[in-house]
Symmetry: C2
Subunit: 273 residues, 2 copies
């Protein structure tokens, strides 16, 4: 059974997508055809969106589900008149919030993922640059400025996790790959000793690691299961011996790895919220 | 007036934060103290969250606002009994959706930001690697594999935008910085001619550019308003002459720049949704 789902927003559409996804994920059996319509910030554009929704309703033979996080009431009313089934976030929650907060909302568009403050913006960009500059153990001189240093074998998820932490939390995250030359024994590489409090280990199932590495270098020693197992086991012993907290990334998304480490370490969010 | 706001989730907390932020952003006059409590996936942890909420209620002398995207009903009921003002997303929307879709939801935790499919996961990681490998014009040999190539002066937002596109959309985004040597005339650098269809320009207000550059190299020629103005104006002429679409990044967040370009170009999302 195919069904269409629309995520409609006057801004980026990120909130509408996040919310809609959480809800639709609860309906396993149904295959949704997903469409995001961002920047629907005029009545004119809303009419265009309605035309799209109605077209889907016709071709699917079923009402599309419409997640709507548009702030402006006039625009929302246009969307509400479509042939879709409307989940209207602002209509549902804004009135009760106004009552609770005993004030009127400002009904301003696109406030949630806009650029709020120059300082927070710069913090974020600086954190992204920090993650790139301190990726892959290329440099270690800036480790004293890092909020966290991820440690693990090549391809276990360190780089995207660092970038996600930088982008979403403004956290300065460096990463150090444990490579062949560090694997001769179970001792933490010397360079890391001074930063033990900042280290966090990533481990991974060797089968998955082999699959991931195979994409990059097919049929190499690097991607062989033997090599992957050896590296993962040695690093796990190393982390255990040095008493460094770790997370197994195998079944987690980047968001999950990042938010779990941030929660575990009590790192402070510097941007966004 | 200070007021606490809690974002409570059985997963990463990303949806609760996104939704809560959109709504709170409408209340300008109020300063919210924001707390995210992710991975509240047991009744025990929910009781801990309630203790935190009640403690805030006491110290603020006001009910905290609680945004709750927990799926499990038993856990939600615990949270609903706190001293906070509860915005319960699943309670509000899941029942009507079940009715509309004529089926029961699976009430499964953490489905929205989890790792769904290995292929999508790999796509995403590969895109992040692509963005890093093709950052800052360092390499151009892979431009034929790029979905989009961002062009602009140094520090106008190219790198974080590419990384965001990679992370959130699985789009392969490269970027090429227009540097001093490209600025001798208004012609697009030769290396870019073959990829004209993939180019997208970023421009920025020279004052803001100077402020951003000043953070990196204070009181340098690089960060002087004269130099920034010259570069921005030249690049704008260059883009106009070559008829390349562009966006002024000055007042936009990374999310906005990325989603606007993706919408303008009709790029397909390869991950996430």
């Amino acid at each position: 059974m195919k069904r269409s789902a629309f995520f409609i927003s006057d801004g980026t559409g990120i909130t509408a997508e996040a919310l809609g996804q959480s809800l639709l994920a609860q309906f396993d059996g149904i295959e949704f055809h997903r469409v995001t319509l961002p920047y629907i910030d005029t009545v004119e554009k809303a009419r265009g969106a309605v035309a799209d929704i109605n077209e889907s309703a016709r071709s699917d033979g079923q009402r599309p589900i419409v997640f709507d996080t548009v702030v402006n009431e006039e625009i929302r009313k246009v969307i509400a008149r479509s042939d879709g089934f409307n989940i209207d976030v602002f209509a549902s929650f804004l009135k009760p919030l106004e009552q609770e907060l005993d004030t009127h909302s400002s009904y301003t568009v696109g406030k949630s993922h806009g650029i709020h403050e120059m300082t927070a913006y710069k913090d974020r960009i600086e954190s992204v640059n920090f993650a790139i500059d301190n990726d892959d153990g290329a440099r270690t001189q800036q480790y004293d400025k890092a909020d966290i240093i991820l440690v693990g074998v090549s391809r276990c998820g360190k780089t995207p996790t660092c970038l996600y932490m930088a982008m979403q939390f403004g956290v300065r995250a460096a990463n150090y790959p444990i490579t062949e030359e560090d694997l001769s024994n179970d001792e933490l590489p010397k360079i890391l000793h001074a930063y033990k409090d900042k280290l966090y280990g990533l481990t991974i199932d060797p089968f998955q690691l082999a699959a991931i590495r195979h994409e990059r270098r097919p049929n190499s020693r690097y991607s062989s299961l033997d090599q992957c197992s050896l590296e993962v086991r040695t690093v796990e012993r190393m982390l255990k011996k040095a008493d460094i907290e770790r997370i197994n990334t195998t079944t987690f998304s980047i968001e999950e790895i990042a938010t779990r480490i941030i929660a575990a370490r009590g790192l402070k969010r510097k941007v966004g919220l």
